[in-house]
Amino acid sequence: MKRIRLDRWATQLQPPRNPRLHLQRCPFSSETRAPRRELQQRQDQIQHQWQHQRRHATTRRKLSSTAEVLGEDASGAPIPPGTLQDGELAASPPPPLYAPSHRRAAQSAKLSALHARLSLPSKLPLQTLARCLIDPSADPRTGYNNAPFAVLGQDLLGYYTSEYLMCHYPRLPMPVLFAAQYAYVGNATLGAMRAEWGVEVVAAPGMEVDPGLLQLKRTVPGNAMMDGETRQLKEMPQAKRLGSGRRNEEHGYRRGMSSRIVFDDQFGDLQSGLPPADARPYPGAAISSPAEDSVEAGSEQQQDALGPVTTPPSQLQTPEETHAITVEAGSASFIRALTGALYLHAGSAASKSFHRDHVLSRQLPLHTLFHFTHPTRDLSRLCDREGFEPPVARLISETGRLSRTPVFVVGVYSGDDKLGEGAGSSLNEGRVRAAAAALRSWYLYSPPDTDVVLPSEVEGAAGTGRAKKQWKPQMVDYGEIVT
């Protein structure tokens, strides 16, 4: 499988390694360095030297989109249109700001305190941390909000958590794996984590708020009254239908475990934000089939009944058009964005230790996540599959059989080996609890720590350093019990 080259995706924020590229250094990390003009001149000198050595014509690449933001000098004064440097784009009027400017990031005490409280590496600039706190609902332009980082960070967090769970607990069944993944990096946990870090949320986003606050457009609670209505918001019919990527969107239609693995997200939940299956693309969308002009001209009424039209991605430019979100969703996107930004600025080792320190340090008793319906049936299928002797329940001890509070301690044996034990107030309850305990002990098997090698420890940058670990093939289980 082709390896994803994340270092290529990061050229927007990291300085270029190739002198052929224009100066694409992080536009936000200039507070203590030389002014932009000197650096631009130095880069031009390097480029000319390289040109003389190689005797090739250089190709000028387009500057990244964030360079458009900086129609101003490093000191903050806007450059007059006639005096632009070579290679900078033509000056346009400064873009409107819906959140505090990145220049205020260095002056915010809250932001610096947050940076120190989380012990973030100094490679991560304060300006990027400020950008991670701006949700797309506060500012929909992808050059200004945390959405690009959040996409990367969500995949990183999911990758590290899932490899940890799968390598340490190879027999964990799929529903429990989904639940454990949610318990570690789901929205609820990340919302709680944001509160534990002391990050406060604004009442409403704007230019005047402190850059150290989390900015999002907060959704109105469902039990609030609609304006001008006597009904509550949660009782009003939903105007916008959400899709999950499947062909049939009917609630729960053929949505078993395999369907979840294919279509749903890392927690087994429906994907949000995808258009429904019968949605038509917006006019002008890049689709492979030719646009049906004759159909559009003729039947306007029919098209209204067909289904909703997707919105083009560039349409949302102002916060008035964005959808409000919950504080939990905003907190989750902030923490994911922080992970992504850490990866881009400080490398995979920093993001991995961030995950270890904040996510894996949390306590999750996996045995509480199991919910059995017929453990005795499952256990007998398991013993049959593995070639054990059929399980037999035997009474180990009991007390108070004829009293109001009997206790029966039942053990489930396969031959002479005791697989599990459980206590109950009736013989049947004891037998069922014993079978459940036996199944839990099977599913929660964990190989010795010396045998566990995580893929991220040997892949990529980690695989070339001094502390390189030797790869050992990890245990892959036969699969879940099929009844």
Partner: protein, 137 residues
């Protein structure tokens, strides 16, 4: 369905991985006229910059409160506040009070009856009458 899962949230253990200092902000109020604020003014001029440098994770806010005693207030991650009036104290005493605010967790002061808190019941298991020796008369 053979097996279902129950959703929950993993519990935090501050200090096991990363340690988050619970004091996130300290407000320092002083007065230029009142005699009770003399030590506080000295503290702000001489000792506070070094304290701020050593504790970058605490947001410090200095503001005048004319005609009142000097006071320091700590704001914590659990949302609670602790305020200490530092009237007539010397710079060293005020530093000790500020360190006290920094080291606090924000919870109320209460008498702790159980010295050890743990998520695990015990290492060797809790006794029950059904396993082990049976008492015979």
């Amino acid at each position: 369905m053979p097996l279902q899962a129950l959703r929950t949230v993993a519990k935090p253990q501050n200090g096991v991985g990363a340690f988050i200092l619970q004091c996130k902000r300290i407000d320092l109020h002083y007065c230029d006229w009142a005699g009770s604020s003399k030590g506080m003014n000295d503290f702000l001029r001489t000792t506070l910059p070094a304290f701020a440098k050593q504790n970058p994770s605490i947001e410090l806010s200095v503001s005048p409160r004319p005609g009142r005693h000097p006071v320091i207030k700590g704001l914590y991650i659990n949302g609670r506040q602790k305020a200490i009036c530092v009237r007539n104290m010397e710079s060293g005493e005020i530093l000790r009070k500020v360190e006290l605010l920094k080291a606090a967790s924000g919870e109320r002061l209460r008498r702790e009856r159980r010295p050890v808190k743990s998520a695990n019941e015990s290492v060797r298991g809790v006794w029950d009458p059904f396993h082990g020796h049976k008492y015979r008369i």
